[in-house]
C-alpha cells in the first residue's frame, strides 16, 4: 500500500492496517471503514474482515471496529481539516485525495430544494486505492488504431465498476501522448496532444494542477472540471488531438462529445456498463452508439487477479445488438467464455500473433455488415474507415 495513503489514517487505524498480511497489502483494492461496524478490506476480488492484530477473518465477529473518534479524525484528515473546501465533493459523495485514491462517503444527506446539498454525519468510508498499471494500455492500444488517419479511433471503454477502466484509460493516455503505439505500422506516427478532462481527479490525480500519475509528455489536464464544459474548454483553447474523459453518461456529456468529434478530435471515454446490451439500455450511451460515434468498444472483465479485455468494432457491436433484439431469449450470453475461446472476436489481440495480421482481419470483419444490414449503420458509423 502506498505510504502517503497510510498517512491519511489516524494512528490507531494505521497500526491495524500496517499489520495486514503482505498478500493482502499488495493487492489491496478497497478499505471499508464503517463507524462501529467491522473493518473490511477487499483485495484481489475477495473481501475479508480485519482483526485488531491485522489478521484476516471471514467472520465479522471479533473483527476490529473503528470508533466514532477514529472516523471523525479520518474525515478531518481526508478533507485536510477543511470540510468547507470540499462541499462540492461531498455533494457528489466522494473525495479524491492526493495519489488519485477515491474515498466514497456514506452518511446523512442534507437536502436543499430537493437536491442533495451535502453530506453530514459521515459514518462510512470506502477507500479505493488507485494503481498505475503501466503496460495494460500496450495490450489494448494496437486494436484501437486508425491506420488511415494515423491516430486512434473514437473509443468507449465499458465495464462494471472496479474492473480497471480508469487504470486502462490512464495508461492509454500515457501511450498516446508519448507516442508508444505498440504497433509496427505506427512506428513513425509520433505522439499526439492529449487533453484529459478529469472531473473526479482520478485519471491524473492532480496535486495543485500537476498530475501525479505519469501521463506522458504531451498531456493537458483540466482537473475537477465538469466533463461537458471541460471538453468544450479543451477543444476551444488547448487544441487537443485526443480528448480523454472518464465515465460519461449525462445528456450534456453526449452533446459535448458530438461537438468534439466534429472538431476533428478523437475521443477516448469510459462508461459503466457490463456489455453491449447495457450500453444500448442507457439512454445517452445508446444514442451515441446508434449514431455510430464510437469506432470501437473495449469491454473489460475480470477473473481473479487478471483483467481480460475484448475489443469490438462499432459494426460488430451494431450487428450484435440487432441480432440480440431479434433473438432475445435463449441466446447465449455474449460474455460466455466459450465464445471468446472460439475466437469469434477476431480482433482480440492474442499474445504472440502479429498485430498486422490482426488489423487485416479487423478490416475484413468491418466491411461485412455494410452489405448485410445497411439500415443499421448510421452514416457516421464508418467515418473512421
Amino acid at each position: 500500500m502506498p505510504q502517503p495513503l497510510m498517512e491519511l489514517f489516524p494512528t490507531s487505524l494505521r497500526l491495524v492496517l500496517e499489520q495486514l498480511p503482505a498478500v493482502a497489502r499488495e493487492s489491496l483494492e478497497e478499505i471499508r471503514i464503517r463507524e462501529n461496524r467491522p473493518l473490511e478490506i477487499s483485495y484481489g476480488s475477495r473481501y475479508s474482515f480485519v482483526r485488531e492484530d491485522g489478521t484476516l477473518t471471514e467472520q465479522d465477529q471479533g473483527a476490529f471496529v473503528p470508533s466514532k473518534e477514529q472516523c471523525r479524525a479520518l474525515l478531518e484528515r481526508v478533507t485536510n481539516h477543511s470540510i468547507y473546501a470540499v462541499e462540492e465533493e461531498l455533494r457528489r459523495g466522494y473525495i479524491t485525495v492526493s495519489g488519485g485514491h477515491r474515498i466514497g462517503l456514506a452518511g446523512r444527506t442534507v437536502l436543499d430544494k430537493g437536491a442533495v446539498s451535502h453530506l453530514r454525519d459521515i459514518a462510512g468510508f470506502n477507500v479505493r486505492i488507485a494503481r498505475a498499471k503501466v503496460g495494460f494500455g500496450a495490450q489494448v492500444l494496437p486494436g484501437l488504431l486508425d491506420l488511415k488517419e494515423r491516430t486512434i479511433r473514437h473509443t468507449l471503454i465499458v465495464s462494471p465498476p472496479q474492473q480497471g477502466k480508469t487504470t486502462l484509460i490512464r495508461d492509454l493516455a500515457r501511450c498516446v501522448s508519448s507516442g508508444e503505439w505498440h504497433h509496427p505500422a505506427a512506428r513513425d506516427w509520433g505522439s499526439r496532444k492529449v487533453g484529459i478532462v478529469d472531473e473526479r481527479s482520478e485519471i491524473a490525480a492532480s496535486d495543485r494542477g500537476v498530475p501525479t500519475f505519469d501521463l506522458g509528455p504531451r498531456s493537458d489536464v483540466l482537473d475537477a472540471c465538469p466533463k461537458a464544459e471541460g471538453i468544450m474548454m479543451m477543444v476551444r483553447s488547448l487544441s487537443p488531438e485526443v480528448v480523454v474523459v472518464d465515465e460519461i453518461g449525462r445528456p450534456e456529456d453526449a452533446d459535448a462529445i458530438y461537438e468534439a468529434i466534429h472538431a476533428g478530435v478523437r475521443v477516448l471515454a469510459t462508461a459503466h456498463a457490463s456489455d453491449m446490451s447495457d450500453v444500448f439500455a442507457r439512454p445517452v450511451l445508446s444514442k451515441l452508439a446508434a449514431d455510430g460515434v464510437f469506432g470501437c468498444y473495449v469491454f473489460l472483465s475480470r477473473s481473479g487477479k487478471k483483467v481480460e479485455h475484448r475489443i469490438v468494432t462499432a459494426e460488430e457491436a451494431m450487428r450484435e445488438s440487432s441480432r440480440r433484439s431479434n433473438r432475445s431469449f435463449g441466446a447465449s450470453p455474449r460474455d460466455d467464455p466459450s465464445e471468446k475461446q472460439l475466437g469469434r472476436w477476431t480482433d482480440h489481440p492474442v499474445p504472440g500473433t502479429s498485430p498486422v495480421a490482426q488489423t487485416h482481419v479487423n478490416v475484413k470483419a468491418r466491411t461485412m455488415p455494410t452489405i448485410r444490414s445497411p439500415a443499421m449503420i448510421a452514416p457516421r458509423g464508418v467515418d473512421d474507415d
Binding site: E7, F9, P10, A73, T79, H81, S82, Y84
Partner: protein, 175 residues
C-alpha cells in the same frame, strides 16, 4: 554613597514595573485588533479562496506581527504534519496551541474563550457555517476590544505613575 545607589535602583525598578504594566494595558487592544484582522483574513480565505485550513493559517501567520504569528504558524504546522502521526483533530491542536501561547500575549480570559470556541468548530462544517462562526468570534472580540480600550485609557497612565510613586514611597520609608 551606597545608600544613594540603592535609592536609584529602587526608583528605577519601580518605574520599570509601572511602565511594563502600562505597556500591557496598551498591548491588549492592539493584539485584539490584530486578532480581528486575522479572523477577517481567515473569512476571506474560507469564503472566497476555499483555501485549506493549514495553508490559510500559515498565510495568516505570515502576515501577523510577533506573538500571534507564532500561534497561527504553530497550529498550521501541527495540522499539516503532526496530526498525521497522532491523528489529532483540529480542535485538540487548536486548544493545545492556544494554551501554550497565551501567556506570551497580553490578552485575557474572555478573548481566549472566544478563540477556543472558534477552534472547536473550525474546519468541521460547510462554508456558510464556518463564516458564521468566524463572524460570531469577531463580534465577541470587538466587544472585548472596546472594553480593553477603556481599560487602557483609564489604567495605562495610572499604572505608570503608580510605579514611580510606589518606588518613591519605598525610598522615603527606607530613608
Amino acid at each position: 554613597m551606597i545608600k544613594f545607589a540603592g535609592v536609584l535602583l529602587v526608583l528605577f525598578a519601580g518605574t520599570m514595573i509601572g511602565f511594563l504594566q502600562g505597556a500591557r494595558f496598551a498591548a491588549r487592544p492592539r493584539q485584539i485588533r490584530e486578532l480581528l484582522h486575522a479572523l477577517q483574513r481567515l473569512e476571506t480565505e474560507i469564503g472566497y479562496g476555499q483555501t485549506r485550513l493549514p495553508e490559510a493559517l500559515a498565510r495568516i501567520g505570515g502576515i501577523l506581527p510577533h506573538p500571534l504569528s507564532e500561534l497561527f504558524l504553530n497550529i498550521s504546522r501541527s495540522l499539516s504534519r503532526d496530526s498525521a502521526e497522532s491523528g489529532e483533530t483540529v480542535r485538540e491542536i487548536w486548544e493545545r496551541a492556544v494554551r501554550d501561547h497565551w501567556p506570551s500575549t497580553a490578552m485575557r480570559k474572555a478573548e481566549k474563550e472566544a478563540l477556543l470556541r472558534l477552534g472547536s468548530t473550525l474546519g468541521g462544517s460547510g462554508r456558510e457555517d464556518q463564516l458564521k462562526h468566524i463572524r460570531l468570534a469577531s463580534i465577541q472580540l470587538q466587544a472585548e476590544e472596546a472594553s480593553a480600550r477603556d481599560d487602557q485609557q483609564r489604567y495605562e497612565k495610572l499604572s505608570r505613575s503608580l510605579g514611580v510613586l510606589g518606588a518613591t514611597l519605598v525610598v522615603i520609608l527606607m530613608i
